[in-house]
């Protein structure tokens, strides 16, 4: 039973289907069409610097909004009776299991000109275009990834003992102080994994901006999609930069997470 051998197929699989493809991206980013070393792909990729920054910005704002919306609901959930907790978890999870294109399409239907929201606003005398701007993209993003923020926050908060909160109250802390001194520090691991689970996919997502945003709102994922079919080298360079940026973000985030955990 004390064997290491069963893991060999997995190791081979991960090398062949994860490491080698990523190395191919690396190789392709540093070469030109003929396979000779070149930095041309990076100089072309630099032309999309504004798209890149915008993607990170949209991802950042979406993550922030998700955190602000999710924190109270996760806390409320964690303080309910067991069966209410389970029911609410299920309610949060169900939309997550719908195909992500359908969820985006739902907003397209809701917000389009002459759609339900537009009609309602027209009754109130507000005439505006709801789609085709950055706000719509951020809305779609928040809708897509909100459950990914709620669930990790909730699972950490559910472990906070009610006695701890009551003790803090008995010792004279008001509500705000209880939040700041007890709930917040204990929920940091949940915040870190929630941010990871929302930021990574939203920074690299594609189609959301194409569907809900305007021509100027496309994100780096859309650029990779558009370019890769014709120019693999530039596409690889952009993919590589995206991956490194996300990696740096995660390292910084985890560093903060550890610091806070130690500070307690």
């Amino acid at each position: 039973m004390k064997l290491k051998r069963p893991s060999i197929p997995y190791i081979i699989w991960m090398v062949v289907f994860t490491m080698i493809p990523l190395l191919l991206i690396l190789f392709s980013a540093f070469t030109d069409r003929n396979g000779t070393f070149s930095l041309e792909a990076f100089s072309k990729a630099f032309g999309y610097f504004d798209v890149f920054l915008r993607s990170l910005w949209i991802a950042f704002i979406s993550t922030l909004i998700c955190l602000i919306l999710a924190y109270p609901i996760a806390y409320i959930m964690s303080r309910q009776k067991r069966n209410v907790q389970n029911a609410l978890t299920m309610i949060i999870m169900i939309p997550m299991w719908m195909n992500f294109l359908l969820r985006i399409y739902a907003w397209l239907t809701l917000l389009q000109n002459g759609g339900p929201v537009d009609t309602m606003l027209s009754f109130l005398g507000i005439h505006t275009t709801l789609l085709g701007n950055q706000g719509a993209v951020i809305l779609g993003m928040v809708y897509e990834y909100l459950p990914f923020m709620v669930l990790p926050l909730y699972s950490v908060m559910a472990k906070i003992d009610n006695g701890l909160i009551e003790a803090a109250e008995d010792l004279g802390s008001n509500k705000i102080k209880v939040m700041r001194k007890v709930v917040f520090p204990l929920s940091i691991p949940g915040i870190v994994s929630g941010i990871t689970m929302v930021f990574v996919p939203s920074a690299s997502t594609f189609l959301v901006a194409q569907y809900l945003g305007g021509v100027d709102d496309i994100m780096i994922g859309d650029v990779i999609d558009r370019i890769f079919w014709s120019d693999q080298n530039t596409g690889s360079a952009i993919a590589l930069i995206l991956m490194v940026a996300i990696l740096i973000f995660l390292i910084i985030l985890n560093f903060f997470g550890d610091e806070e955990a130690i500070a307690q």
Binding site: M1, K2, L3, K4, P6, S7, P9, Y10, I11, W13, M14, F17, T18, I20, P21, L22, L24, I25, L69, P72, I73, I76, M77, Q80, N86, L88, M90, I91, I94, P95, W97, M98, N99, F100, L101, L102, Y105, A106, T109, L110, G114, P116, Y143, L146, T196, P201, A203, S204, F206, L207, G221, F228, G235, S236, A239, L242, M243, I246, L247, L250
Partner: protein
């Protein structure tokens, strides 16, 4: 629940469900726009007559089933092996799967496409069913490892030895003790793999070649054209399917809890 909590919870639930319920409502609309023209079931009839959609549904289910079965076997074997490593090697192997999990889908997708295109020209094959299956196994397996590893750590090795002492051969002991102990982890790994595979669009999109269709690819081409209310009918059916699945899982969990008590 206090008043504020109730209102806030209700608002979040509204935010999450209004879009989906709107689609379901319009799936019964006898008109192609978002103006209500009366009740109809014709979009559902159209949906079931659409042989492309039906065949994509089968493809999706087949890929999800094969990928998650394969991933469960591969991942469970991996977890058993990894658990027997020591020190740095063990940590390295445990985290190897995280590379795949943390790599953005689009990067995984284009990276695999790059490799499959190269292999395809060298070995004369085209991307399609097989490449999508290989890709799905790749992104599912790490989740199985993640689900199974904690169960192995808590497993009592003495029970396995006891089974051997009591006359089981190695295979019987493995099946009756190890697999039995790991079953819940394997099952949740399988379930996670199955849902991720069913839901995947990005990686399938880049590895499917030119003709292989899954449901999410089909949805992509339908939403891209934005014409047919068949999408609404499809959403409604998928929502109901998810709902039923969730209720079944929930009832099963409750029964298990009762049995434990």
């Amino acid at each position: 629940m206090k008043k504020f909590s109730k209102i806030y919870t209700a608002l979040i639930i509204l935010f999450m469900y209004v879009p989906i319920l709107t689609l379901i409502l319009f799936s019964f609309n006898d008109g192609k726009t978002t103006v209500w023209k009366g009740f109809t079931l014709r979009w559902y009839a159209d949906l079931f007559k659409d042989s492309q959609i039906i065949s994509s549904l089968w493809n999706t289910l087949l890929i999800a089933l094969l990928a998650s079965l394969f991933a469960t076997v591969l991942g469970t074997m991996a977890a058993i092996g990894i658990n027997n490593f020591k020190g740095k090697k063990k940590i390295l192997l445990q985290n190897a799967g995280n590379i795949e999990i943390l790599t953005p889908d689009i990067v995984t997708g284009v990276a695999l496409m790059l490799m499959f295109t190269l292999l395809g020209t060298a070995l004369h094959f085209k991307m399609g069913f097989i490449t999508v299956l290989l890709a799905h196994i790749t992104f599912c397996t790490p989740y199985v490892v993640l689900n199974v590893l904690p169960r192995i750590r808590h497993m009592d090795y003495a029970v396995y030895e006891a089974a051997l002492d009591l006359g089981c051969n190695q295979w019987q002991a493995f099946r009756k003790v190890v697999i039995h102990e790991l079953m819940p982890g394997m099952f949740s790994g399988f379930l996670m793999s199955f849902t991720f595979s069913m839901d995947d669009f990005v990686i399938t999109y880049f590895t499917r070649g030119s003709s292989f269709q899954t449901l999410s690819i089909q949805i992509y081409s339908m939403t891209h054209q934005r014409i047919s209310p068949k999408i609404n009918a499809l959403s409604a059916l998928m929502f109901v399917a998810v709902l039923i699945l969730m209720i079944i899982i929930n009832i099963k969990d409750k029964n298990q809890e009762k049995r434990k008590v």
